[in-house]
């Protein structure tokens, strides 16, 4: 009787059945999963006509640069884009999934998607995975209710802000925003400030680097400026170039002829079943 009761969670709310087991595991030496701020600088700000998102383009695997020019600004809807920091697979998967859900919702309702819809879908997904989906996002867009900018943390909490930064380079970028941001920036001033914040992350944070991507979203229009700035050209290219000769040596040549002719005998032994 008591076994049957344990399996069903209490009406609504959390089931704390596993807490004792988790405690036992921690005592045995299992390290609880921690929140890792991995190499990236992503930013967003609200200006007079909409929102501007920015991101660097470096993807790292520990101390090695895996991709020098990856895309961190993901499409969610024609009027909503999302920058992603954290585990690349997680940010890709979660933004693709919510983007599909938004499209279906647009067919269902016949209306343009709203930023708060994307926000709710993302935060409830991340919360249900209790922080194991390591995606830290900056979500921005313009809909019928106006321009919106939100940050979403891996555990599922959100903030609504006029300017935001995430990733390992967030402090370097936030330093620029806190000094120079003001309300009612024009498009050019906004793009310049976003590029400056990303550059600060690129040059001062080792986890961020390479180029600057910018996305400007206004009412009815969005401009995705891929590689808006390329402040890191390769510094040295050898003029004569390098040759990589084939390093193979013939050690031994031996020809073993295969059997010349194989005879097929008609009416041989029947095959066993």
């Amino acid at each position: 009787m008591s076994r049957f009761e344990e399996s069903a969670p209490a009406r609504g709310g959390f089931s704390f059945d596993l807490c004792k087991r988790n405690e036992m595991l921690v005592q045995k030496g299992l390290k609880p999963s921690s929140y890792l701020k991995t190499g990236t600088t992503i930013v967003g700000l609200v200006f007079q006509d909409g929102v501007i998102l920015g991101a660097d383009t470096r993807a790292t695997e520990g101390p090695i640069v895996a991709d020098k020019n990856c895309e961190k600004i993901h499409y969610m809807a024609p009027n909503i884009y999302c920058c992603g920091a954290g585990t690349a697979a997680d940010t890709e998967a979660v933004t693709d999934m919510v983007s599909s859900q938004l499209k279906l919702h647009r067919f269902h309702t016949g209306r343009e998607s709203r930023v708060v819809t994307a926000l709710t879908l993302l935060k409830s997904h991340l919360f249900s995975y209790q922080g194991h989906v390591s995606a830290a996002l900056v979500l921005g867009g313009v809909d019928v209710t106006g321009p919106h900018l939100h940050t979403i943390y891996p555990h599922g909490s959100t903030d609504t802000l006029p300017f935001a930064t995430m990733g390992s380079g967030s402090l370097a970028a936030m330093a620029i925003f806190e000094s120079k941001y003001r309300e009612g920036l024009t498009r050019d001033e906004g793009v310049k400030l976003v590029a400056e914040a990303i550059c600060s992350g690129i040059f001062n944070d080792l986890g961020s680097g390479s180029n600057v991507d910018v996305c400007v979203i206004t009412k009815g229009k969005r401009e995705y400026l891929r590689n808006y700035m390329l402040p890191n050209p390769r510094t040295y290219v050898s003029e004569k170039g390098y040759s990589f000769s084939k390093k193979t040596e013939v050690l031994l040549t031996k020809i073993t002829p295969l059997r010349e002719l194989v005879e097929v005998i008609e009416g041989g032994d029947a095959m066993e079943e």
Partner: protein, 223 residues
């Protein structure tokens, strides 16, 4: 209360890469000038190279506090040698001294990854490569530090003989000219900077030959 583990480490890694190549009558020693900790840059303009004797130059990556302490010990020992023997230490002698100094702290090592370069008594280039506790070997070229795993395969391809099994092992020094070796070093650092986050800013190159020492600096990516 379960047993508490020490969560303070006496070491830190300040990153960086060092390379040295020996030629028939010259030696090139190079190191980048970036000093970092974690994901931050401490300074873009820190020299990891020191000239220990008139024909011995050492470059070290790793924990720069230990590197600085090691440099001081070696400089002091060299001064004593000069007083006692009335001459400069040769590069092979300095190599042995460095090995002994490192092994002396076998049970609390210097977190330093060194390459020693210079000219031997015959005027030929020599490069000695070390691990953190003093194991060393004379080689024709070497790379140490965070970018070493990126640079060494490229140097193996350009400088090593095609098949060490068939041909007898060639002379340790490379047949390349001084200009070609410097070009190779610049390419190594430009490439390592692309893929290693701890390497960048500038590369400092010292060239030792019969005429003395020459220093050259090249800009690298700063991101």
């Amino acid at each position: 209360m379960p047993k508490q583990q020490a969560n303070w480490s006496p070491y830190d890694n300040n990153g960086g890469t060092c390379v040295a190549i020996a030629g028939a009558d010259y030696c090139v020693i190079a190191a980048d000038t970036r000093m970092s900790t974690g994901y931050s840059i401490l300074t873009r303009d820190y020299s990891k190279i020191i000239q220990l004797a008139d024909k011995s130059v050492m470059a070290s990556s790793g924990f720069q506090a230990d590197v600085r302490a090691l440099q001081k010990v070696l400089a002091a020992r060299h001064l004593i040698y000069q007083h006692q023997h009335n001459k400069q230490m040769s590069c092979p002698a300095m190599a042995q001294l460095l090995s002994n100094t490192l092994y002396f702290k076998r049970f609390f090592p210097y977190y330093a990854f060194n390459v020693l370069g210079g000219l031997d008594s015959e005027g030929k280039g020599c490069v000695f490569t070390y691990d953190a506790v003093g194991s060393y070997e004379r080689v024709g070229y070497s790379a140490q530090g965070s970018g070493a795993t990126l640079i060494t395969p490229f140097l193996d391809n350009q400088l090593k003989s095609p098949s060490p099994l068939l041909l007898p092992a060639k002379d340790a020094v490379t047949p390349l000219s001084e200009i070609e070796a410097i070009d190779l070093v610049k390419t190594c650092f430009a490439s390592a900077t692309e893929r290693d986050i701890y390497t960048g800013d500038k590369v400092e190159m010292l060239v030792l030959n019969a005429n003395g020492i020459r220093r050259e600096v090249m800009e690298l990516r700063k991101d």
